[in-house]
């Protein structure tokens, strides 16, 4: 949701083969590694994406075929020539949804988001120490709540400090909704501005807002 850089944005793709190749998780990892460090050998990429050399070679071949990757040179190692790869665009790529099938789009967004959400949910469960209680009640705002809580206040306070997981339904005017959405984004932006120090423990954050009730899902 950030400003698109005006100067030479990502290259526009026009073939659905290219679009489909770009939608594959492993292609993305390989291309991501090459965007970061162009002129890498297959074994360097394999190390970076933590996959077997064979798998990486298979995908590189595909990416060469559709033209997302190029051979940019060779390096001599022992007597052998080692090919070096580079992305066909240093600014990345973009393509319209219409280049893929509609079913693919939904699958894809689910494929991108659901593994993350499942991981979040599984970590929530890991941090629970005492037995949880399920509660169904109507809160003071007239909203039905389906909650998990521990009996002891101490355990609840501990969990509240560490974990947040809430879903609600709201009824708003479109002006209220836009204001609400802006403030959620502001929260997300502030969170993303935290320094990225990979030596610290990792936390996942998710903020979602959609113009629809999902209670009947």
């Amino acid at each position: 949701m950030t400003e698109l850089e005006e100067s030479g944005g990502p290259t526009v793709l026009t073939s659905s083969e290219q679009a489909e190749a770009l939608l594959e998780r492993l292609s993305q990892q390989i291309l991501g590694a090459l965007l970061k460090t162009p002129s890498s050998s297959a074994s360097e990429i394999a190390l970076e994406v933590q996959r077997s050399l064979k798998t990486v070679l298979y995908w590189l071949k595909k990416l060469l075929e559709v033209g997302l990757v190029q051979v940019c040179g060779e390096r001599r190692r022992g007597g052998r020539a080692v090919r070096l790869y580079a992305p066909s665009s240093s600014t990345g790529w973009r393509f319209p949804f219409t280049l893929t099938s509609a079913a693919t789009v939904l699958e894809l967004i689910e494929g991108q988001m659901m593994p993350f959400m499942r991981e979040v949910i599984s970590h929530m469960a890991v941090h629970v120490r005492e037995e949880m209680w399920v509660e169904l009640f109507c809160d003071e705002r007239g909203q039905v709540q389906f909650n998990l809580n521990a009996r002891s206040q101490r355990e609840n306070l501990r969990l509240e400090r560490t974990i947040t997981g809430m879903m609600h339904q709201l009824h708003l005017t479109s002006e209220q909704a836009e204001g609400f959405n802006l403030r959620l984004r502001e929260m997300l932006r502030e969170l993303q501005e935290q320094p990225e120090d990979a030596s610290q423990p990792t936390y996942s954050v998710g903020l979602f807002f959609v113009p629809k009730s999902v209670e009947k899902a």
Binding site: G32, L106, S122, L136, F137, N149, S204, V205, F208, V214
Partner: protein, 217 residues
């Protein structure tokens, strides 16, 4: 994991049939509506936008297990219409050990995954024909990022004015994490306290924050 329940505390349930009925999403909707307003079956069907037949079937089950009672009758034409009310006006609760779920994770997934999926679906269904995929070395990220956006930035902002799908990974010390999480909760609750009028359009909102260090799934 969620906001502590409003007092008085929900009634504790120990009966297995009641527990499994309470875990069903449709029953939760029906009981939720009844907690707000005792109603007839056709009123419920209208509020929940579900077929009358399905609502009556569920009401019979809920009557049988004792979560719902007939609170009275209303005469309509020559016919008597039953008015249903929840057996507890403060809701219900039960320990996790009484649920058929083998793990807390299973219970959480069952509750959250369908709704998250519906949120993703809602976020794309209106807009997918106009959307573009970007895979590029995002100026703000250190690695290549996969994003949904539009070449026309103003149009994108307009389309996304009431939609946010944001996830982020943060690296934090425990103290920072607690501070951020509590802040996030506080801001979320202050947003939630805003006026909710059920005649207005429904929106869904969700927030997650969890440590993901340690064993990955």
């Amino acid at each position: 994991m969620t906001e502590p329940p409003a007092v008085p505390a929900p009634v504790s349930v120990t009966n297995a049939a009641q527990v499994s009925a309470l875990l069903e999403r449709v029953n939760q909707e029906i009981l939720g509506a009844l907690l707000k307003n005792p109603s007839s079956a056709s009123e419920l069907a209208k509020v929940l936008e579900r077929p009358l037949k399905a609502v009556i079937y569920r009401l019979e089950t809920l009557l049988e297990v004792g979560l719902v009672e007939v609170a009275g009758e209303r005469k309509r034409g020559g016919r008597a219409i039953r008015i249903f009310a929840p057996s507890s006006s403060v809701g219900w609760c039960f320990p996790f050990s009484l649920t058929p779920a083998a793990t807390l994770l299973e219970l959480l997934e069952r509750d959250m995954v369908p709704r998250l999926r519906a949120m993703l679906r809602a976020s794309v269904e209106r807009i997918r024909d106009e959307m573009w995929f970007y895979f590029w070395p995002h100026p703000e990220f250190k690695t290549a990022a996969f994003e949904m956006r539009m070449p026309d930035e103003a149009r994108f902002e307009h389309v996304m004015r009431d939609t946010t799908l944001g996830i982020a990974t943060l690296y934090l010390t425990e103290t920072e994490a607690i501070k951020l999480n509590l802040e996030l909760r506080e801001r979320y609750f202050s947003l939630m306290r805003e006026h909710t009028d059920s005649s207005l359009k429904a929106y869904s909102v969700a927030v997650f924050f969890t440590p993901v260090s340690g064993d990955k799934l």
